[in-house]
């Protein structure tokens, strides 16, 4: 079994199979992330496919100083951004419960999934920062690179995101206790 570094080197030499093996670990998580930024499941799949193609096309410009996931998410965020053209109404406003891909994919639970609250309460960039921090375990530096933002901006917005979601979590817990 080859290591990530070996797979990257093979992909840089033009091996599509090595690249496919390299992204195997990330693709499900990337799809989950893209679901929150796209209007439909099909759009999220298209965005994932575009991300993979762009990542492979530019694999030789990958800088090993950063984690591979940081680089991959940076491309995914740019691809998802292209789907949200300026001047178009926010996707969140157009979604209804039946077509919302995130709602469709969330398993039934007693409490509301916190990522639904996050999508409602945070803007796209802060949402992405929170996802990269708490799902992907990226460092603040890596997140700032992925989002193309300064380290201080990332720190401040992670803190604000935490405060907002902490309050939302406490609120849902109180509500469920009251009804429980």
């Amino acid at each position: 079994m080859r290591t990530e570094t070996q797979l990257i080197a093979a992909a840089q030499d033009g091996s599509a199979d090595a690249f496919a093996e390299l992204v195997q670990f990330y693709r499900d998580k990337l799809l989950r992330f893209l679901l929150t930024r796209c209007a439909s499941y099909a759009d999220a799949e298209d965005a994932l496919q575009d991300t993979m193609i762009n990542a492979y096309r530019y694999i030789r410009s990958y800088d090993p100083r950063w984690r591979f996931s940081t680089w991959l998410y940076r491309i995914a965020i740019r691809n998802a951004g292209k789907l949200q053209r300026p001047g178009v109404v926010e996707l969140g406003d157009l979604r209804d419960e039946e077509s919302d891909p995130l709602l469709q994919c969330i398993k039934a639970s007693e409490t509301e999934n916190l990522w639904l609250s996050a999508r409602r309460l945070l803007n796209d960039e802060v949402y992405a920062a929170m996802w990269l921090r708490y799902v992907e375990d990226l460092s603040v530096n890596d997140i700032s690179v992925a989002l193309d933002r300064s380290v201080s901006w990332t720190k401040i917005n992670l803190m604000r995101g935490r405060q907002v979601l902490d309050a939302a979590m406490n609120e849902t817990e109180k509500t469920s206790e009251a009804y429980g």
Partner: protein, 131 residues
């Protein structure tokens, strides 16, 4: 790990999305049709055709000449000129009860004569009212 971090991680795992076999096939087929770009290709700015700069310069010059020609060829709009007759027609007539001064001497002498006349008139008024 704190409570919020645990909850966020747990809820992310509860999003049930997996790459389907069909999507996997699609992605692999797309990757086989792509060749990684070299470093130079990946970072190089887009190359313009050789005549691009000449064409854009000529277009700019032509546009500037056209604008100058249009601006200079336009005739100035005639400025309406108000005649004295028009002004007098508009202005209200004021009747001034004045007498034309008869200037027969130099101004200083005229002034002295007028002041003298005023003093005489003042003296006459005082006498008439008994002061």
């Amino acid at each position: 790990m704190d409570k919020l971090a645990n909850r966020l991680r747990h809820d992310a795992e509860n999003i049930d999305a997996k790459v389907s076999d069909e999507l996997d096939r699609r992605v692999r087929a797309s990757l086989n049709g792509v060749t990684p770009l070299t470093d130079q290709q990946a970072t190089a700015p887009p190359v313009r055709p050789a005549g691009f700069w000449w064409a854009s310069s000529l277009t700019g010059i032509a546009a500037a000449v056209a604008v100058i020609a249009i601006v200079n060829s336009e005739q100035e709009a005639p400025v309406p000129q108000a005649t004295p007759a028009d002004i007098f027609a508009v202005m209200p007539r004021i009747d001034l009860k004045t007498e034309t001064a008869m200037m027969t001497s130099p101004l200083q002498q005229e002034l002295d004569a007028l002041q003298s006349d005023i003093r005489k008139a003042e003296r006459r008024v005082r006498e008439e009212i008994g002061l």
